[in-house]
Symmetry: C2
DNA sequence: CTGTTAGCGCTTTCAA
DNA sequence: TTGAAAGCGCTAACAG
């Protein structure tokens, strides 16, 4: 079924059908109705492939999601898809493995789909500039700050991780904790991890509290299981510790579970803070004290910036979204 | 840059370039090399849009994910994508709203992308047969049983929900619970909900235990928040109840949180069971007693069946994957 | 083995 | 306001 068939049955030319289906104004109401009647009769839908071949502007936005199981990123994706329904763009989603190189995959996607813009959910494409530069369309990284990259078409929207980490660390310190351990990501490969660590250190230093990296930092993947192991290691290395700063709610939960299993109650014997402020942090037992990232603001600002870049209204920019401190039950108060 | 440009520079015809790029055998090595030299020089990639318009066989599998925030479905998606990398198919993911009609959206996707096959992650497309029948390609529903549909190209892979629900209800009964409440989905709209409810009732009836639907069944969405509310309602309506059967881990967690907040400890005062057996069930406090669905088996069997259907090796089939009972800490034992 | 060409389904310009 | 027709980039059938 093609517009040709529709045209035949509606007794008009294919051009007219095309005009109707693309909402062009210069079609008489009568013809429009006749065409729509046939279209509805068969539930006809334009062949997008052919359409795209013709109008070089693909009107597609490609979204690359880093990692399968991040609730934050999935929520972000949901918000973006929802908002996109009202826009004249279609969306194409690709989910990457945690260890895929997002810039490399993006360049493949770019050639295959010729999208109008690219959204990176998570990940740090700016870290492989060679691949990034092949992308000749506006891009926005959501969740990670990419301001370090000088790429002229790469924007980013992120939470101020440095301030967030400092804020929650201050809270621990304010409540009397001095010996604080850290369960974080891999400092080498993750920019987010570096920022949160820096924020943590800033708070410690501001209060003249020492921090022994060897003894008090254990790196783990952003998973329950891995951070449970890390918690065990940390406690064994560092028996005097009274609080743990973790870099994600999932890590905090993994740690809580592990400590409970070891007979160390949270928060009575050990305080734990998370990061992200996802729904499950609030339903965990104990409720997690954490930093909440504003998902809606991240997603909407990211999309807005991308669209403005596509329409060439503005240049690439790097925006920080405010966070909220969530006072849960996982920190023993002074 | 098109094959025409390549052809000009390589001093041959476009057909030849096409043949080289599609690995057709009947090209002389000499010509092939000459063409490839030019192709590599510019990093040329075929325009997939034009290609798809021509070769009707798109070699694309469309995946429709029902709902944004289901961890189970996201895990499934990850497994499928991973396995697909080794196959000569590309994959296109569309995430639907919880309330979208998946069959309707599938028919739109079908027209737009002309995929070789469709995977439904969650959802029950068989419930709107009119739309389903427009899909003239093999389809597989993963997670929900679609055997009730007599659609000849629709397969499904699912856990035996009836048996799973019966199994975990039996466990409650075996541990002395007689007054059991249910937090479930909407019986009207969800086939899964009906199956799990049926399994629950089977177990109750097998032990001659009465169940008063009005007093003991509260329906909720599959979210923390909604089932927390449902738990409250259930407790108020039904003070003698000693256990709650919930139809998802997320529901169980919502209920646990709510009860703790009301001073009703789990499992001492109230036993709660979940369903799905997701990672967070095992890291919750208390660990959830639940039914674990085998994600890997669901995903892999689904993909296998779809591929066999595409290659016309077999007819549509409906497969049940065994589940596992997970003995957690959320049920008070006799 | 290689060149030529029709045509995939659509949009849009040009004429009427 | 509508119709006719060119052509987007590619593949495959056909001819040589």
């Amino acid at each position: 079924m093609t517009i040709k068939d529709i045209a035949r049955e509606a007794e008009c030319a294919v051009g007219t059908v095309s005009r109707v289906l693309n909402n062009h104004p210069d079609v008489s109401d009568q013809t429009r109705e006749k065409v729509m009647a046939v279209v509805n009769k068969y539930g006809f839908v334009l062949n997008n492939t052919a359409r795209r071949l013709k109008v070089q502007d693909s009107k597609t936005i490609s979204v690359l999601v880093k990692g399968t199981s991040s609730i934050l990123l999935n929520d972000l994706l949901g918000i973006i898809q929802k908002r996109m329904e009202e826009l004249p763009y279609s969306i194409s989603v690709t989910v990457l493995d945690e260890f895929d190189n997002e810039a490399k995959i993006a360049s493949r996607v770019y050639y295959e789909q010729k999208p109008t813009g690219i959204i990176f959910l998570g990940g740090s494409p700016e870290e492989s500039p060679e691949d990034l530069h092949k992308l000749q369309v506006p891009c926005v990284v959501i969740t990670n700050d990419a301001s370090a990259s000088k790429c002229p078409f790469l924007s980013s929207v992120s939470t101020d991780d440095l301030a967030g980490a400092r804020c929650i660390t201050e809270w621990l310190i304010k409540n009397g904790h001095k010996k604080i351990g850290v369960i974080g990501g891999d400092l080498q490969s993750s920019g987010i991890t570096r920022k949160r660590y820096r924020g943590f250190l800033d708070a410690m230093e501001a209060h003249n509290l020492p921090f022994d990296f060897e003894k008090s930092y254990v790196s783990a993947r952003y998973s329950f299981e891995d951070s449970a192991k890390a918690a065990k290691e940390l406690v064994e290395k560092n028996p005097k510790m009274t609080a743990i700063f973790t870099m994600a709610d999932s890590m905090a939960i993994g740690a809580c579970r592990q400590l409970s299993d070891m007979g160390i109650s949270v928060p009575e014997k050990m305080s734990i803070v998370g990061y992200d402020g996802l729904p499950y942090a609030d339903y965990y037992n104990p409720r997690l004290t954490t930093i909440r990232q504003d998902e809606v603001a991240l997603a909407e600002n990211g999309l807005d910036i991308l669209l403005k870049n596509i329409e060439r209204v503005v240049k690439a920019e790097h925006k920080l979204i405010p966070f909220t401190f969530v006072d849960g039950e996982s920190v023993k108060k002074k």
